[in-house]
């Protein structure tokens, strides 16, 4: 009986167990089925939904290359910056759309004009509005902390020029998207710009990144090293600005180069601008006068005429010319000297910058030889300097000349040149007849921009003729029109120039507006630097001669640059002067 009862109990238990197993089995099968449905059947749909919410393709901004001077000082650099962007709810009324904008307006300094413009954009259905671009990190942090709906802070980069207006015209400038607009920034935009990358970011519900995958790595822009020297650029720019203020000139330019290598050490134009605010600068200030402005070189051009006659043996430095006449008649007009000279040796003609003597000497050349020499010196074609929009100048061929053209050309009229062309011409004399191309770039992305010149580009003038002319130019500074450029302890070679400017209303040259210039090199025997100074329309106290206006600027720049380069005056210390050496010797 007891066994029967136990058996019945066991049966009941087994039945319950089976029932429970079936229920659990069904429950497990249900879960498994649902799992299969979600993971297998609806996999693609769920994956799309999840990744759509958590996955984001984020561009990796590339870094624009840095521009350095020859000593590794940063001239242009990109730094992190932020932009505040607003994405409104598409269906919200305009007042609701504007509310977040008005909330952050005081922090971002948005004025009524900007707010009105944004309102118009939102009314037109704009889905994306930049509230402010390139804000500093502190402002970005404040806006982020305000946690305003629809507002987002986006990482950006801002181009900065830590040296301010230094070398502004060489560097140029960029737009808000860091695209080069002028200067080196424009010319080498592709190299500097690099290529943007892309990364896949997975975020959780709290927008925390938990997986980042780089899909394509950004290609950073290449760094560029210029031949400019920050200190020399500073000296050039400072002295140019001082002269501009002193003489109330309209514009001016200074270029400093190393003649042997053709490297530009400084290139300054005035009026200038700050590339940090490129868009705000007046267009007139952004013109690079050293490569774009054309002018008649006046007497500085006599170096070309003198080189030609000396090179072809048409005159000797000691040969005399009668410069006693008040003026020399050229077809259609007469050309005068700035003072009467009498009989001058040809060397003195250049030393004292006699127009009458120069024209007499040039007449021995003939038009073809004069034209060929002018072209050999590089006038009428671009120097090929690494800057955009260089002007080629204007040199008409002999078949377009008038009867007075050869005379006018020999003293620097009826020809338009750029400042770089004039400096290149003087460098030919400094290099004793060899032409070495001017260059501004040392390297791009670590690779030399131009191979180091192993030899001169071409010979323009014989070494003997160039040597004779260099000696004449030393005398021009020591006793001629260029005494303002005299530098104690150094032999300076140079030539002054004062040219009348063209008056478009009168249709000819005017005697009331002038361009003052000086171009030279120092030390004359082994030139370390060559400098060109041009100042247009100096007005102060009617002083407009190149020797009075431009030569002193040359002297001050040369003084500072030579000291900076460690080139000491060739003359020894004055007798009795206390020097480190004399003190050491006295102690012994």
């Amino acid at each position: 009986m007891i066994d029967l009862a136990r058996e019945i109990e066991q049966k009941k238990a087994r039945r319950r167990t089976r029932l429970l197993s079936v229920v659990v089995g069904l429950w497990a099968a249900g879960i498994l089925g649902r799992l299969v449905q979600i993971q297998a059947i609806q996999h693609a749909e769920h994956r799309r939904q999840v990744t759509g919410q958590s996955r984001r393709l984020v561009p990796i901004p590339t870094e624009r290359g840095t521009i350095f001077d020859r000593n590794g000082h940063i001239l242009a650099h990109s730094v992190p910056s932020f932009s505040v962007v607003y994405r409104p709810s598409p269906d919200a009324p305009i007042e609701a759309k504007m509310a977040p904008v008005l909330e952050v307006a005081p922090v971002l300094g948005l004025g009524p004009k900007s707010l009105a413009q944004m309102r118009r954009q939102l009314e037109d259905g704009g889905k994306f509005v930049y509230l402010r671009r390139k804000v500093d990190p502190e402002t970005a942090r404040i806006v982020r902390d305000m946690n305003v709906r629809g507002l987002r802070i986006e990482d950006e980069r801002r181009r900065t020029y830590p040296q301010g207006p230094l070398a502004a015209h060489v560097l140029g400038g960029v737009d808000p998207d860091e695209k080069g607009l002028a200067g080196i920034e424009f010319r080498y935009n592709k190299d500097l710009g690099g290529r943007e990358g892309q990364r896949l970011v997975l975020r959780d519900a709290r927008r925390r990144e938990y997986n980042v995958e780089i899909l394509s790595a950004p290609k950073p822009g290449l760094d560029i090293v210029l031949t400019l020297d920050r200190m020399i650029q500073y000296f050039a720019q400072r002295e140019l600005e001082r002269a501009m203020a002193e003489h109330q000139a309209e514009w001016g330019t200074v270029i400093v180069s190393a003649p042997a290598t053709g490297e530009i050490l400084a290139m300054a134009s005035a009026p200038g601008y700050d590339p940090n605010a490129f868009a705000a600068a007046e267009p007139e200030r952004r013109i690079d006068r050293s490569i774009r402005h054309l002018f008649d070189p006046g007497s500085t051009f006599k170096i070309v005429t003198a080189a030609a006659v000396l090179d072809h043996g048409l005159i000797a430095p000691g040969e005399t010319l009668n410069c006693a006449a008040e003026a020399i008649t050229v077809p259609g007009r007469s050309i005068r000297d700035h003072k009467p000279f009498g009989v001058l040796a040809f060397a003195d003609v250049i030393v004292h910058s006699s127009n009458i003597g120069t024209i007499q000497a040039a007449r021995r050349l003939g038009p073809d030889l004069l034209y060929r020499t002018i072209r050999d010196f590089g006038f009428g074609e671009r120097t090929g300097i690494d800057l955009p929009a260089e002007a080629a100048g204007l040199v008409r061929p002999p078949d377009e000349w008038s009867r007075r053209s050869p005379d006018a050309l020999s003293v620097g009229y009826e020809i338009s040149v750029t400042a770089v062309q004039l400096l290149q011409a003087m460098n030919i004399i400094a290099n004793r007849g060899e032409k070495v191309g001017l260059r501004l770039l040392k390297s791009v992305g670590g690779r030399p921009a131009n191979p180091e010149p192993d030899g001169p580009d071409s010979r323009v003038v014989s070494p003997a003729a160039a040597e004779k002319l260099a000696e004449i130019l030393v005398r021009a500074v020591e006793e001629g029109t260029g005494t303002g450029a005299r530098l104690p302890g150094f032999r300076v070679a140079g030539k002054t120039g004062t040219s009348q400017l063209l008056d478009s209303r009168q249709g000819g040259y005017t005697s009331s507006r002038h361009l003052a210039a000086f171009v030279g090199f120092v030390p004359a025997d082994r030139p370390a630097i060559s400098i060109l100074v041009v100042l247009s329309e100096p007005k102060n106290k009617n002083v407009y001669y190149g020797g009075l206006v431009a030569a002193p600027v040359f002297r001050e720049i040369a003084r500072n640059v030579l000291r900076y380069l460690g080139l000491h005056p060739q003359a020894g210390p004055p007798p009795g002067a206390i020097t480190a050496r004399s003190v050491l010797e006295a102690r012994r």
Partner: protein, 96 residues
Amino acid sequence: MVHKKYSRRQILLAASACLVVMGILTFYLWHLTENIRLGYAVGRDQSAKQRLEKDIQSLKAEREALSSPERIEKIAREKLGLGDMRDDQIVYEDRK
């Protein structure tokens, strides 16, 4: 009704199999969570690295601006009262 009796060995094997499966599942879950935890850590470190790189770039530009010749000359003239050297104030070493 005759019930099959499982031997101890069979029970032990089944228990071991269950333990192994549970162990594998536990390891898999641990691996997943650890992966995500490390993902967060990498994300944080990458953000920190980016921040530091940005700081370095800003500091480099700031250093250049602070050492610009114009600023140094201004300080020398206005704060230190220095001026341009005259030629007679400079004595060059007589190099032999």
